[in-house]
Amino acid sequence: MWFEDLLIQIKSVLVLNAPEGLRPILSAMLSATPILSAFGGLFAAVTLLERKMLGRIQNRYGPNRVGPFGIFQPVADGIKMLTKEDIVPKTADHSIHFLAPLLLLLTAMLGLSVIPYGEKLVAIRFEAGIVFFFAVGGAAELAVFMAGWASRNKYALLGSLRAIAQMVSYEIPLILSSVCVLMAAGTLSLDEVAKSQSGSMLSWYIMTPWGLMGCVLFLIATLAEVNRSPFDIPEAESELIAGHMTEYSGFKYAVFFLAEFVAMFAMCALTATLFLGGYHPPLPILAFIPGPFWLFAKLMVLVLLFIWIRGTMPRLRADQLMEFAWKFMLPMAVINLISTGCWIALGRGSLGWGLSALINLAAYGALSRWLSSRPNQQKRTYRFAEGPMHAA
């Protein structure tokens, strides 16, 4: 509490000392600056952390040359990216080619503005905050298309169309799995959602069966939405030479990366707010540590999970990706809505808990049985590698 009050005091002193006409702009800037700088710093830290962790997973050290343990690697990367030549293809559509990375970054950063960082720390308090979040997230698809189309490159266009198809398909389970939380909280405003999970860890929504399932579905859809491995088909380096980013170099390429990471942070922050209690500490006695710290801790846990998943799983094929979205994620999200409804209708007690768990388990079992019995899910034999031709 004291931390948030301190921040608000500082801001109000600064704003009140400014001339009358400048106050609204100054207030907006003072709200935006800490968020943007915090996530910019986090971006630098996470790029290094990701490379270190991937290295450890793959029996390597990771970057360890620049500074002790390589902690200045992000600085070196930044200098390298900034001093690189910015090449624009001759036939490219110059203005759109220039606007695309900026638009992508904009959409990613706008999402951060509605996340509640503390009880009083919300940049914009929208009553329909989560709708805003998903609306600006939807504009990211357009930015990806602009990047791919303006490059005048077949690979870039193919990659961007794949990216759009993937993002549109995964947006549906993403929104459906967040709807169950909105049903339980009875509001569309993100700070109300966070407020409804106050108390100990047990009142977080992930502690209910529908919440757990919703969280897992939401995280998987998030992975696809921000093009992280194993859903990184859009930028598949080995098959599509980085998709819509093919024709970008230097600083614009760095902006693409920044946008991707900021989108990931925004999505993780949203996951933490929806399912993991937002800025609330896991135990009430830990409330002396300020709320933003808890939100960032949860965010970091999710980011580490994403890096771990990236280090583990191979890339999905495009048709498998679509099949997974439409044949597993979508039905599971709809069934999860039903089980949330049962939980709410039965008075949010243990009876509802049990019924909800039962519905989800039965649906999961049935779905996975059906999917794994399909002919294209059987073990593949590779004609040339292990077939009779090979034997002969």
Binding site: M53, R56, I57, Q58, N59, R60, Y61, N64, W308, I309, G311, T312, M313, F328, Y364, G365, L367, S368, L371, S372
Partner: protein, 204 residues
């Protein structure tokens, strides 16, 4: 059940991640310039010229037959014959190379020069730290850089060097045997000649 394989894989990578901090088995990478993994005996990349003895110029095995120059697929070898002949290890008079250059920026390490060399002169090195600031002159290796002693060859590829020595020893023995046979023949012929000479007066 969908997801079982994913969880299994995640456990494996988690074991790798935590194990890399205490288990050397799970962190097989070394920090290269500070520590190096000892090279395997059969490691090889670029060719070098072997010489016998201590003086590289006189002990060079190469006789500038130029077979390697012709066989080299990327044509990275350049040889110029010397004008005078010198005796080789068998005592035969052979041309020595005046210029022997290998452009390691072009060389692809195919080892064909080694296969075709009839004089066991060119062999594969395992030194890989060739980075230079000048990519044209710095990577064009001359005779004096290429020449390395037989002792060094024994150090890097002991088995192969022993085999090569055996071959050369065999050649020398053959040569000696041939010489001996020649000498014997010569002696016989001489003897015969002298006998016939000595007989001749007897005949008459």
């Amino acid at each position: 059940m969908i997801g079982k394989g994913i969880l299994k894989g995640m456990m494996e990578t988690a074991r790798n991640l935590t194990g890399s901090f205490h288990d050397p088995e799970r962190l097989t990478t070394v920090s290269y310039p500070e520590e190096k993994i000892p090279a395997k005996e059969n490691a090889r990349n670029f060719p070098f010229l072997v010489y016998d003895g201590d003086d590289w110029e006189s002990g060079l095995r190469c006789v500038s037959c130029q077979i390697c120059e012709k066989e080299c697929p990327p044509q990275c070898i350049y040889i110029e014959k010397d004008t005078q002949k010198k005796a080789d290890f068998l005592g035969k008079l052979q041309f020595q190379p005046k210029v022997f250059d290998i452009d390691v920026s072009v060389c692809m390490g195919c080892q064909i020069c080694v296969e075709v060399c009839p004089f066991e002169s060119i062999r594969m090195d395992r030194d890989f730290e060739y980075a230079k600031s000048d990519r044209f002159e710095g990577l064009l290796l001359h005779k004096e850089q290429l020449a390395k002693s037989n002792k060094y060859y024994h150090q890097i590829h002991p088995t192969e060097a022993t085999e090569t020595d055996a071959i050369r020893e065999g050649k020398r023995q053959d040569h000696l045997a041939k010489e001996r046979a020649k000498a014997e023949k010569l002696a016989q012929a001489k003897e015969a000649a002298s006998k016939s000479q000595s007989k001749e007066p007897n005949k008459e």
